[in-house]
């Protein structure tokens, strides 16, 4: 099992009040699954994604990633897991504006301590995979929205992560471009990658093979198509 969440809670303190963002979540995801997490805003889907992506840790319960208990790890250990196992794709792309597409894609390799002489080759290979070799030396502001998201996907893929986490990846794109990006994810899934997609759009979620719906911090439904 790639991901195993057991009896997991996430509680925030807001002033004197306790906000239960996630309650009693148990969820298992296998390798090469393509899962969409759905729910209205406030349902806890972002919190769930943050925990699965090792950006945050649960308040209670257990999260096993490839058999390792993540809930107990410290900051740097989490950073290492993010570097090696997780590839993030954000709604707003989150590319570093001062760097070229190439440099953006290369960055996770640098944080992953990849040797310099191996990096360029990896970057080109990945840029080819998302079809952006020609735009490699442009900065994000010289690229279209779809191209930016492809750069972001390349950056997520570069360290060959176990999980690709995409948070509303088409939210800032027009429907045609959004569809193209979903085709990229389709290709990645077909190539054996595990993809977790957070969305509130039904038609986007339908690209996935499994849909988990959250409501008020609980799993409301879990259906495999």
């Amino acid at each position: 099992m790639l991901i195993e969440l057991r009896d997991m809670f996430k509680t925030y303190e807001v002033g004197t009040q306790q906000v239960h963002a996630l309650r009693d979540i148990s969820l298992s995801i296998e390798e090469n699954e393509y899962v969409a997490i759905m729910g209205p805003s406030g349902s806890g889907k972002s919190t769930l994604m943050n925990i699965v992506g090792c950006l945050d840790t649960p308040t209670e319960g257990s999260y096993l990633l490839k058999g390792t208990e993540v809930a107990a790890l410290d900051d740097d250990e989490l950073a290492e897991i993010r570097s090696a196992e997780i590839g993030f794709v954000f709604q707003t792309f989150n590319l570093l504006p001062r760097m070229t597409a190439f440099q953006n894609v290369e960055l996770p390799l640098i944080y992953g301590r990849a040797a310099r002489h191996t990096r360029a080759e990896r970057v080109w290979e990945t840029m080819d995979a998302v079809g952006l070799r020609e735009r490699a030396h442009h900065r994000p502001n010289e690229l279209s929205g779809g191209q930016r998201q492809r750069v972001a996907i390349a950056r997520a893929l570069i360290n060959r992560p176990s999980i690709i986490l995409a948070d509303e990846p088409t939210g800032n794109l027009d429907s045609v471009t959004g569809e193209e990006i979903m085709q990229v994810f389709r290709g990645l899934s077909d190539a054996g990658n595990t993809i977790i997609l957070v969305t509130h759009e039904q038609y986007i979620a339908e690209h996935a093979t499994r849909i988990v719906k959250l409501l008020d911090g609980r799993i409301a439904s879990d259906t495999t198509t």
């Binding site: 090469n32 943050n50 740097d76 570097s83 090696a84 001062r98 079809g131 190539a191 054996g192």
Partner: protein, 389 residues
């Protein structure tokens, strides 16, 4: 599309977490950030440039002043210390002394307050023509002084009295004349109470000095003494004062001289202020930089940056900033000091110590004031940083 295969599922987590990121990468990344924020980098550096610049220029000026104090002591007689800008016997050209500290009446007063000092007399001199009733003595030494001068410099009054405290206080036009002057201008009459012109100004003779004879063929009696305050009013107060003093009773003369040296050195407190201002400037800008790059930090962390990666990036940025700023400040400060030296009578000396201290200051500021912002950047929690707008 679809060419990307999952290379080796289940490779496990990386080992060797202690391995540091390549320094070259951190450095390049820092330089890239600084270059892309040229205006901000420049303004940050400005604080350091001004800090180190004022450090170097102030220290150079102080060094110039201090170097003057060292060689200007001589013993006059057995137990009289004389502090002057110029030595009694000048070797070579006088340029060697022009950078020395200008000695003022305030300095004399400060020396007088020392416990190890007994009596103090300040005096200034120039040369002027002395005239009475058609008779003229050319280029006679005119000495502006105080009452204590009589005792310290061992003058004996033949007739009348010496300059008194009241003469000094009221800036009276009183003059005590040397034996040569008395003999030349008043061959027959009694000079006491008569009027003489000193450099064209009217003075009343209040005393006549006993002859001191001559030394190396120069008469010691070809002089007139007037109150120091009157002297300054008549000839300006820009002339350097000579301070003659005696040690206090039972104090060794060496100790008195040490004390005087201390007094003559200028304050160095200004420098400390310059350091602090520059440092706070750097910290301020680095904190702003951390705040406005919060999202960037969040992204970097999300894609695998560790705490140390972020911290060292910010630290290196501030060190580069202060390093370049420091170099510019040292060059600028030395330039200012040399300019001041060239166009004003103030002395200046750019010392190795000043440059070294400024360089050390720049580096220490970069580290000390960069650590806190860098630490804060490293500690940012990724989810909060990513949510930051």
């Amino acid at each position: 599309m679809g060419t990307l295969e999952r290379a080796s599922p289940g490779t496990g987590f990386r080992q060797g977490s202690a391995k540091a990121m390549e320094f070259r990468e951190t450095l390049l990344s820092s330089i890239r950030t600084l270059r892309s924020h040229k205006m901000r980098s420049l303004l940050t550096m400005l604080g350091i440039v001004i800090g180190t610049g004022s450090l170097v220029s102030v220290m150079s000026l102080i060094a110039g002043l201090n170097s003057s104090v060292s060689a200007q002591f001589q013993s006059v007689g057995t137990d009289i210390i004389s502090v002057s800008r110029y030595p009694w016997v000048q070797m070579g050209n006088s340029d060697a002394y022009k950078d020395r500290k200008h000695i003022t009446l305030e300095d004399a007063a400060a020396v007088g307050r020392l416990r190890s000092v007994g009596m103090v007399a300040a005096n200034i001199h120039t040369r002027r023509h002395i005239a009475h009733d058609g008779r003229v003595m050319k280029y006679t030494l005119v000495s502006g002084s105080t009452a204590e001068y009589e005792i310290i410099d061992n003058y004996l009054v033949e007739e009348g009295r010496f300059i008194t405290d009241l003469d000094v206080e009221r800036r009276r036009q009183s003059v005590v004349i040397g034996a040569d002057v008395a003999g030349e201008l008043f061959p027959v009459r009694d000079p006491l109470g008569k009027e003489v012109r000193v450099g064209g100004r009217r003075f009343t003779v209040v005393g006549i000095l006993k002859s001191k004879g001559d030394i190396f063929g120069e008469s010691l009696d070809d002089l007139v003494i007037i109150p120091i305050t009157t002297f300054q009013k008549a000839y300006g107060s820009r002339r350097s004062v000579v301070i003659d003093c005696s040690p206090a009773e039972g104090v060794p003369i060496e100790r008195t001289m040490d004390d005087i040296r201390q007094v003559m050195r200028t304050m160095t407190g200004i420098v400390g202020l310059a350091l602090l201002v520059g440092g706070i400037g750097v910290m301020n800008v680095m904190l702003v930089s951390v705040a406005e790059r919060t999202r960037e930090i969040g992204v970097r962390k999300a894609i695998g940056a560790r705490r140390g990666d972020i911290t060292s990036q910010f630290l290196i940025e501030s060190i580069i900033l202060t390093g370049i700023g420091g170099a510019m400040g040292i060059a600028g400060g030395a330039g200012v000091a040399l300019l001041v030296k060239a166009v004003t009578p103030l002395p200046a000396e750019v010392t190795v110590a000043a440059v070294a201290l400024a360089a050390a200051f720049a580096v220490v500021t970069g580290v000390a004031f960069g650590v806190y912002p860098a630490h804060r950047a490293g500690r940012l929690r990724p989810i909060e940083a990513l949510r930051y707008e």
